[in-house]
């Protein structure tokens, strides 16, 4: 006795194939819509902003006059901020990830911490802004400085870096660690010689992506009270500064139409910066990824 009836199979074949192609269309439309929005956005920004992209734009400070307005303070501020966030967040984040994966005992307490780290990654950035305002700006009296903002942003992306690093560390096969321990290597030797070299691509990719999120972030800086426009460059860690997203935000809300174009020019610069960072992440991932 056959359970599968050929005539029924053939009858259903047509509708199965039809469903198959309908779903393909739905997914295709979803992808196209997303891409289309992106293209429209890009075209609009490039056509509006490219006229303002010249040397003066990079070399001028903010101004009341759109044609004199420049991005110098914001660009340098963003880069300096990045230089603070990168080491602070990576040292703390990778260190935490190594501790949790390699040293910490797996018990209820560590899994509680683990759960909280994952949840922190989803906390709105403005909450981190309030935290930074309370702790760094007021309690530690760092003021509205580069350092205060750098620490706040580091806290913001720390959970993302920890989770990404943990996953990279966890992806190193158990057999690799066993091989090292089996020859009498200590935990530290195993981490530095076997685990980290294999995990570094994943750690760097995750960190750079998190860093680019920090570079594009505005809300926490607004809460910290970072000025949106500055006529000088920061001269130290405790100096005032501004960043690209803040500068763009300021231009975009001005009444004069010409400032919309200046804002677009600023967006182009910010996007180029982010594209460069993401390209570095992709490059590192492809170049150093090891397969077992």
């Amino acid at each position: 006795m056959k359970y599968i009836d050929d005539t029924v199979v053939m009858k259903r074949m047509k509708s199965r194939l039809k469903y198959n192609s309908i779903w393909k269309m739905i997914f295709l439309i979803a992808t196209t819509l997303a891409l289309l929005t992106l293209v429209i956005l890009l075209v609009r920004i490039v056509t509006q902003g490219s006229g303002y992209l010249n040397w003066d734009f990079f070399n001028n400070f903010g101004s009341r006059f759109p044609e004199k307005a420049g991005i110098k303070a914001a660009l340098i501020g963003s880069v300096l901020l990045m230089l603070i966030i990168a080491p602070v967040s990576m040292i703390l984040g990778v260190g935490t990830a190594i501790y949790l994966e390699e040293y910490a005992k797996k018990n209820k307490f560590t899994s509680f911490i683990q759960m909280n780290i994952s949840n922190l990654a989803g906390v709105p950035s403005i909450v981190f802004g309030l935290l930074g305002l309370t702790i760094f700006v007021r309690m530690l009296v760092l003021g509205k400085s580069l350092l205060a903002a750098g620490f706040t942003m580091s806290l913001l992306i720390l959970p993302v870096i920890i989770v990404a690093s943990q996953e990279a560390i966890r992806a190193v096969p158990k057999e690799q660690r066993e091989a090292s321990y089996g020859m009498g290597a200590t935990k530290w030797q195993t981490i530095t010689r076997v685990v980290l070299p294999a995990a570094i691509p994943g750690i760097l990719t995750g960190s750079i992506l998190a860093l680019s999120r920090a570079v594009g972030e505005t809300a926490p800086l607004v809460v910290l009270g970072i000025p949106v426009i500055l006529q000088f460059l920061p001269d130290g860690l405790l100096s005032q500064f501004t960043t690209l997203p803040l500068q763009i935000y300021d231009w975009a809300k001005r009444p004069q139409e010409a400032f919309q174009y200046v804002a677009s020019a600023g967006i182009i610069v910010l996007m180029i910066l982010l594209v460069i960072m993401n390209s570095i992440a992709i490059f590192i991932r492809n170049k150093f990824q090891k397969r077992y």
Binding site: E175, E178, G182, A185, Q189, A198, K290, R291, Y292
Partner: protein
């Protein structure tokens, strides 16, 4: 009557030659020094009592095979010998495992020290994603050898010791992952030799290899036993019979029988051993 039983058993294992059969009876009388003396050793994974009252006395310069069905605790036991089993956090042990007279389960015994004397070759070839040279030099380097000339010599000696020098001498700087599975496993053996161990533990070293690579590893084990004591876990009874001097049969976390390999395979004392080696279960 006993002779008759021996004969029937011998027929079942007729195509299996053990080293001691080849060498003759004389080797049996030599009593060698004890390397690993296990006394009343128990091990739990959480609530699961995985090893029960293990008593085994493993001698030097012999190949000791540990056989038994899946889940009988043979891998757990060999991993207890270099305390690798502690990497599983829920493991609890009691009893004694004396390595050269000192109990390795004592808190004062550093695992790093133990593992430089007791090397291990794993089930799946696990070279590092580094060059062949760096793989072999890994052990000496972690123990502080930096001199390039010394390292060169260790690498060559170890690769020769693992009978793979001729195959890889021209490509020491290539990634070990480019080698075949059998070559990778011999690289892992060479890597183990590079720390100049006293004992080599092998946890089913040929289970992931093809028959020809398996044969090469088995031949290698025969050569190595002159200088090392080897404990090998295998699920392959023919392999145990071919290469080992003594065999321990594990079942459900207990040692059922431990004796010279030819005795185990010809005249097992326990019915369960006989059932297992004649393929009635497992």
């Amino acid at each position: 009557m006993v002779e008759l039983m021996n004969k029937t058993n011998k027929q079942e294992t007729a195509n299996i030659k053990t080293p001691s059969q080849i060498v003759g009876e004389s080797t049996k009388s030599v009593e060698r020094n004890s390397v690993f003396n296990t006394k009343n050793f128990n091990l739990w994974y959480g609530d699961h009592h995985a090893l029960k009252d293990i008593n085994l006395d493993i001698r030097e310069n012999e190949v000791t095979a540990i056989i038994g069905p899946s889940g009988c605790g043979k891998s757990t036991y060999i991993k207890a010998l270099n305390r690798m089993v502690e990497l599983v956090p829920i493991v609890k042990t009691n009893g004694e495992i004396n390595y050269r007279g000192r109990n390795i389960l004592e808190a004062s015994y550093e695992v790093e020290e133990l593992r430089t004397r007791v090397g291990m070759v794993f089930q799946k070839p696990n070279p590092f994603p580094k060059s062949i040279y760096d793989n072999i030099a890994y052990g000496p380097r972690i123990h502080g050898i930096k001199n390039k000339k010394v390292l060169d010599e260790i690498v060559e000696k170890s690769l020769r010791g693992a009978a793979i020098w001729d195959e890889v001498k021209d490509r020491l700087n290539q990634n070990a992952y480019g080698l075949s599975g059998g070559q990778q496993q011999r690289i892992c053996i060479a890597r183990c030799l590079a720390i100049e161990p006293d004992v080599i533990l092998m946890d089913e070293p040929t289970s992931a290899l093809d028959p020809i690579s398996t044969l090469k590893v088995e031949e290698l084990v025969q050569e190595l036993k002159d200088n090392y004591s080897i404990i090998i876990v295998t699920h392959n009874m023919q392999q145990a019979a071919r290469i080992s001097d003594k065999t321990a049969f594990f079942l459900n976390g207990e040692v059922v029988e431990f004796d010279h390999t030819d005795k185990i395979f010809s005249t097992p004392k326990d019915q369960r051993t006989e059932d297992y080696i004649s393929g009635r279960f497992g």
